[in-house]
């Protein structure tokens, strides 16, 4: 029937229009809701819940992330360090503490390569790549030059490995410390010449395998006590630090920044490639080494005042620490016992020094 069809159509049209209006209203309301922050956060939470298929308590999701270190980064990604490199963590934390007004003198070491080749650099601070044994002297010259051209604020840092500090660089370091040149000398210690392929340095601990102290002739001499040497120079501030305790390292770098004169930071930085440890254990090793007192964290001011920063409630035996590193796997019970005695002796000596000051 002709008359009915149009009526049906009209009704249908009216229905459609009504639907469309409702759709429109619904859309507007949705928009209003979405504008509100609260709703958005709640929606995200719901999305996550649906994704994971689990229910969460509401108060947990409102939690803000509280970082123990400032979020600004002066070190970028894309650098050439091995997986799990301790030296990069050391640099990351130190730069957070020192800030943009920093100049680094980097002698030959892992970081000469990690930073990236010419014409690139992964750091947001200027770097003077200097000759191997000259870290402290180059930094002293750089600081003097900067002051003469009117920049008295920039912190000049000599950033060297253990080889460039304990061995070939010790003369320049001693000279600068004796003159009390206004530089911050930071040694990141991975206990061998890692950049050139794991050769022994005087920072290599007793018992370690390196390519120049193979298992049949493993290193029989103890690790050189660079902190005692630096304390003997009576510099205003020196400290040991570990990447397993980043907040402590950050605090010490910040403190060192404010002191005038030669400051020395000795940072323990595990190297999975050279120590034959798993890359994921890097931070764990850096923590264990403090807990078993092989590498205690302490500060010395003017060679007199010793302050121990962390006294482990329970001094752990060194076995677990040694077991995690392939470079110690050849050691016998006897060797480990001797090493444990040495660690105990050194710890006792440090405790006595701290008491006496």
């Amino acid at each position: 029937m002709k008359g009915e069809a149009p009526k049906q159509e009209l009704e249908q049209n009216q229905e459609h229009e009504k639907l469309a209006r409702e759709k429109e209203r619904g859309r507007k309301e949705r928009e209003e809701r979405e504008k509100s922050e609260e709703w958005r956060v709640r929606k995200e939470k719901e999305n996550r819940e649906t994704k994971e298929g689990k229910q969460e308590t509401s108060d947990k999701k409102e939690k803000k992330m509280k970082l123990s270190l400032p979020p600004e980064e002066l070190m970028g990604s894309g650098h050439l360090a091995c997986q799990g490199c301790g030296a990069t963590l050391a640099m990351r934390y130190v730069l957070k503490a020192l800030g943009q007004k920093t100049a680094l003198c980097i002698p030959a070491c892992c970081w000469s390569v990690i930073d990236g080749p010419f014409p690139y650099s992964s750091l947001d601070v200027p770097i003077f790549h200097c000759a191997f044994e000259t870290a402290a002297a180059s930094a002293a010259g750089l600081k003097a030059g900067l002051e003469m051209v009117g920049d008295t604020e920039t912190t000049v840092v000599a950033w060297a490995g253990d080889g460039g500090t304990f061995d070939i660089g010790i003369q320049a370091l001693s000279g600068a410390a004796e003159r009390n040149d206004d530089i911050l000398y930071i040694c990141y210690d991975n206990e061998a010449y890692m950049n050139t392929g794991i050769q022994r340095s005087s920072a290599t601990p007793y018992g370690a395998w390196t390519t120049t102290t193979p298992v049949k002739h493993f290193k029989k001499r103890p690790k050189k006590d660079i902190d005692a040497i630096m304390a003997a120079h009576r510099i205003p501030y020196l400290a040991t630090a570990s990447i397993g305790y980043p907040e402590d390292l950050y605090k010490k770098a910040k403190k060192a920044k404010e002191v005038k004169g030669t400051r020395f930071l000795h940072i323990y930085a595990p190297c999975p490639s050279g120590w034959k440890s798993r890359p994921e254990d890097t931070v764990k090793l850096a923590r264990m080494v403090v807990q078993n007192c092989i590498f205690p964290l302490y500060e010395v001011e003017f060679g007199e005042k010793y302050t121990i920063n962390i006294r482990p409630r329970e001094k752990k035996p060194i076995d677990d620490y040694l077991r995690l590193q392939g470079r110690f796997h050849h050691l016998t019970e006897e060797h480990i016992r001797m090493m444990q005695e040495e660690v105990d002796r050194n710890w006792e000596r440090l405790l006595r020094r701290a008491e006496a000051s």
Binding site: Q100, K101, T102, A103, C105, S112, V113, D115, G116, P117, F118, P119, Y120, S121, L123, D124, V125, P126, I127, F128, H129, C130, A131, E133, T134, A136, A137, S138, A139, A140, G141, L142, K143, A144, G145, L146, E147, M148, V149, D151, T154, Q171, A172, S174, G175, E178, R179, D181
Partner: protein, 384 residues
């Protein structure tokens, strides 16, 4: 202002007038007076500079390089063992384009210990990319330090101002010390195109692959080639302001000379006395004193020696297994240009053995007696 000063102090005055800003030096005989006077000048305020009393020459050059990178004008001084200890860093300063100026007192290399003059120490550094000036008078030393800063900073290439141990370093001569204001006009403050500063962070001297190293060193050589022309320009400007021309070489009675002696350092002035005596005896002699050794003044050497009938090069040094070093360089400069001129190579005065006008007369006689020059070293003064 005229003063009677020793050669070492002429270096100190040169650095003071040039307003050096950072000085890092280590004592070594016969350089000690240079740094002693500079220390006093810093202490009294005559010189506004930081003096870093480093613990070795190696650290001295390292500190100078660091300071130069920061944009400061740097100066140091050393000799023999100290210079050779710095060898690694000499390459660093030139490759890094840091215009450090260094005074070097030519002293014989040990063993045995010798404090007397000999050119082997600085000549064994000829490949390091440093400009080298061999001076013959205290006045020249002072003037050359100021010119060296100007040339070095314009082209960003380090330079050495070299003088003989005791013969010049400890000899007192009358020196006209220029006034500060005019020196300031001649030598403006150091203003490098790039310097190390946190406001514009760069990494200087990072790992450089074969992809890039070649071009960097090509650029250094190209800039080295601009040095002779710049020395002429700055030397003429110095003459306008102070009345003394500072060139690449100094020729004495060479215009109509048939036998030209080629010498350097204080021996270069002794040669003039010999030339006069030879002329009196009827021999048409002349003397070419080479002052600029690196880069080698090819054009000047070819021009002046081109008219001679014989050339006698006098070396106070030796490259073992070859010949005297000035001899080799002069001969190779003439090859293809005036190869028909016989060049005789003489070695004398090593380890500070005295070089007198008699020595030069003996050299002249030996050159005149021979028609052809063979490759052999003609030793003068060795007890055989």
């Amino acid at each position: 202002m005229k003063k009677v000063i020793m050669g070492n102090h002429a270096l100190s005055w040169g650095a003071q007038l040039s307003r050096a800003q950072v000085i890092a030096a280590y004592p070594i005989t016969p350089q000690t007076q240079v740094v002693e006077l500079l220390s006093e000048m810093c202490a009294s305020g005559e010189l506004n500079a930081k003096f870093i009393k480093v613990e070795s020459e190696h650290s001295a050059m390292a500190a100078c390089i660091g300071a130069s990178l920061a944009g400061a004008r740097t100066f140091t001084a050393t000799s023999a063992q100290g210079l050779t200890l710095m060898h690694e860093l000499l390459h660093w300063a030139s490759g890094g384009r840091m215009p450090v100026v260094m005074g070097n007192i030519n002293r014989a290399m040990a063993p045995g210990w010798s404090i007397w003059t000999d050119q082997n120490d600085s000549l064994s550094q000829r490949d390091t990319g440093w400009i080298q000036f061999y001076c013959a008078s205290n006045q020249e030393v002072l003037d050359t330090v100021i010119q060296a800063f100007k040339v070095s900073e314009a082209l960003l290439i380090p330079s050495m101002v070299i003088l003989d141990a005791f013969a010049l370093s400890h000899t007192y001569e009358v020196v006209d010390i220029p006034d500060q204001t005019t020196v300031d006009d001649y030598l403006p403050p150091f203003n490098p195109p790039v310097r190390l500063t946190p406001s514009e962070p760069h990494a200087f001297g990072g790992l450089t692959s074969p992809e890039h190293y070649f071009e960097l060193r090509y650029k250094l050589q190209k800039d080295m080639e601009k040095v002779p022309a710049l020395i002429e320009e700055t030397g003429r400007e110095y003459e306008r302001l102070f009345g003394r021309y500072l060139g690449q070489v100094e020729d004495y009675r060479c215009d109509d000379a048939e036998l030209i002696l080629v010498s350097s350092g204080t021996a270069g002035y002794t040669a003039r006395v010999a030339v006069d005596e030879l002329r009196d005896a009827g021999i048409k002699a002349g003397n070419l004193r080479i002052k600029l050794f690196r880069p080698f003044p090819f054009e000047r050497v070819r021009h002046i020696l081109g008219q001679a009938k014989k050339v006698a090069v006098v070396d106070r040094n030796i490259s073992y297994g070859h010949h005297g070093i000035f001899y080799q360089e002069v001969k190779s400069a003439l090859y293809g240009h005036d190869s028909h001129i016989p060049v005789f190579g003489f070695i004398t005065g090593l380890g500070g053995r005295d070089v007198t006008p008699e020595t030069f007369k003996e050299i002249a006689e030996a050159a005149l007696a021979r028609d052809k020059a063979d490759e052999d070293i003609i030793w003068i003064g060795v007890k055989r």
